[in-house]
């Protein structure tokens, strides 16, 4: 009751910590956006407000570098990796969550071990393997493994599938459904938020990947994805901050769009990664 009558200084004092955090988390974005609109001469000086506005920076990003090519590479990487991951990991997660078999606990432990393995541990033999297959210099070494399951996705999907009551699988079995039909007709439709969240994670992971492209595509600029190519705006003496910040914003567009379209599934997904398995 009385809270409504409070004046704004009281409200600010009440929310001082929240507001200070807003400044910390949002502040950097403000500077990035303002710099993206500055003239090349002003960007990187200590004047924070643009003296003149240059929306053409966003077009110049595409002129100065083959951004469309990079975008295409990133989209190909992220979309194919996500599609392959779903095809291979959903059945595996279902088997781990709902089918009883000997060694399922051990199998799940192995999945967790794979998920936690630092990528640098296996970089050398995997690089040698892909080089023998003549696939280095492309993004395929990062895309194709998803055909054979992705450990983190299997883990996350299993956590989701465990939240679906067992009754549904058992009812489907009593109705004479085989495991495949149960998965496709009963479980998959119910697990849509989980599938969406896992797909979004995979998309983000591929879209943002730096180490993978550094390892496999460094020698072939035509294969570079956006996140890897982002840092190339250099003037004669220093970084072109105006163009770099404009390119940074452009690289964020697909991720932010996806986040706002599927925020609910996404937040649920993040939460489930932390649930004890």
């Amino acid at each position: 009751m009385s809270r409504r009558r409070r004046t704004w200084p009281v409200w600010v004092a009440d929310h001082a910590v929240s507001l200070a955090l807003v400044v910390c988390f949002v502040g950097p974005f403000v500077f990035v956006v303002l710099t993206a609109f500055m003239s090349g001469r002003q960007a990187g000086t200590s004047f924070a407000w643009p003296t003149s506005w240059h929306p053409e920076n966003f077009a110049r990003v595409f002129e100065k570098l083959p951004m469309l090519k990079y975008f295409g590479n990133s989209l190909l990487y992220a979309l194919l990796a996500t599609a392959m991951m779903l095809a291979s990991s959903v059945p595996a997660a279902y088997a781990l969550a709902r089918i009883r078999f000997r060694g399922s606990g051990l199998y799940f432990l192995a999945i967790i071990a794979m998920m936690l393995l630092p990528p640098q541990v296996t970089s050398v033999p995997l690089y040698v393997m892909w080089a023998q297959l003549h696939l280095t210099g492309s993004l395929w070494p990062l895309i194709l493994p998803n055909l054979l399951g992705d450990a983190f996705s299997i883990f996350l999907l299993r956590q989701f599938l465990l939240t679906i009551p067992r009754d549904y699988t058992e009812a489907a079995r009593l109705d004479g459904c085989g495991e495949l039909r149960t998965l496709l007709r009963v479980i998959a439709p119910m697990a849509k938020p989980g599938l969406a969240a896992t797909a979004i994670f995979m998309f983000f992971h591929s879209w943002n990947d730096y180490y993978g492209p550094l390892l496999y595509t460094s020698e072939n600029e035509a294969a570079w994805p956006v996140s890897y190519a982002l840092a190339q705006f250099r003037g004669a003496r220093s970084v072109d901050w105006d163009l770099t910040m404009a390119a940074t914003l452009i690289a964020m567009v697909p991720v932010v769009l996806l986040f706002f379209v599927a925020q609910r599934a996404f937040v649920q997904g993040v939460t489930l990664t932390g649930v004890k398995g």
Binding site: M114, L126, L230
Partner: protein, 300 residues
């Protein structure tokens, strides 16, 4: 049926986990580069690892620094922000989105943005500090401040952890707080004796994934190092740009990469990889055992 569902991932496990692990161990006993096949050289790589490599000591220390400082700071920061969100009466959804947003930025982009924000001469942060009469540090260009700067970046993108902690905080049964309050527990005591015990599984998860992340920390220091030098962290010369200033930001994973693909010492890098694998496995085993020991106490 279970086998048919698992077959692709079983094959994946063999091809991308078991086989490369075995090969890494084998390679670690060979002299090997990309143009010559592996040749047995017994313990030469291992001797170089223990006593020869001039950079491995600093790289290991840096990685330990990130494990010991970055991980706890980030975990505590995320817990604090999540706690602030549980106290927000109105606009909690909006606040959560605002706090989460930085975690959506591709790491390469957020790192470049931070090098810009913390640019010692003319960056917004030091300009602001100067207005307050404080002489700001060199941030990413200073050997002392480069790692703390990366820690600040890690705090900015704590959104994922925050969401996990928020869900766990909201899951703590309200009756337990009420009971503690009736027993005369103050806010700090309620946090210590009700909140924390309920959060143990989630905190354990956060610490394990945090340490694993720190052991393989690569992208942010690589991009920061190159960008602060005014160079681009891309292309074949990228490994020569790692670690700047001095070796202040050189991580163990980066040195491994640089020894393998910059110096073409694939056998030696494999020995480093074996060590990284063993350390990772030991850390996970120790943490899980240590915490399993006191979960029953929590349950009672």
């Amino acid at each position: 049926m279970a086998f048919a569902f698992l077959a692709p991932s079983l094959l994946g496990m063999l091809v991308f986990f078991v086989f490369p692990l075995a090969m890494t161990v084998y390679y670690s006993f060979t002299a090997f580069d990309l143009s010559n096949p592996p040749k047995w050289n017994a313990f030469a790589n291992w001797r170089y690892l223990v006593g020869g490599d001039p950079l491995i000591g600093q790289a290991t220390l840096n990685t330990v620094w990130f494990v010991v400082v970055l991980v706890p700071v980030r975990t505590a920061g995320a817990l604090f922000v999540a706690w602030v969100l549980t106290r927000a009466r109105r606009g909690a959804g909006l606040l959560r989105t605002l706090y989460y947003m930085p975690a959506l930025v591709p790491p390469v982009a957020s790192t470049i943005a931070f090098v810009f924000l913390l640019n010692p001469g003319s960056g917004p942060v030091n300009t602001l500090l100067a207005a307050l009469g404080i002489d700001g540090p060199g941030w990413f260009t200073s050997e002392t401040w480069a790692k703390p700067s990366l820690t600040l970046l890690g705090l900015w993108v704590l959104g994922d952890l925050m969401v996990i902690f928020l869900a766990a905080l909201l899951d703590v049964p309200a009756e337990q707080y009420e009971a503690a309050e009736l027993d005369g527990a103050n806010a700090a005591q309620r946090f210590r004796y009700v909140t924390i015990p309920n959060m143990v599984p989630v905190l354990l998860f956060a610490v394990i994934t945090g340490i694993i992340g720190a052991l393989q920390y690569f992208t942010e220091p690589a991009v920061a190092s190159a960008t602060a030098q005014g160079r681009a962290p891309v292309g074949q010369g990228a490994s020569s740009l790692l670690g700047w200033p001095g070796q202040a930001t050189l991580t163990y994973g980066q040195l491994l990469y640089s020894r393998a693909f910059g110096s073409n010492l694939l056998g030696y890098a494999s020995a480093m990889a074996v060590v990284l694998f063993v350390v990772t496995a030991v850390v996970i085993a120790v943490l899980l055992r240590r915490f399993r020991a006191f979960t029953p106490e929590v349950a009672s």
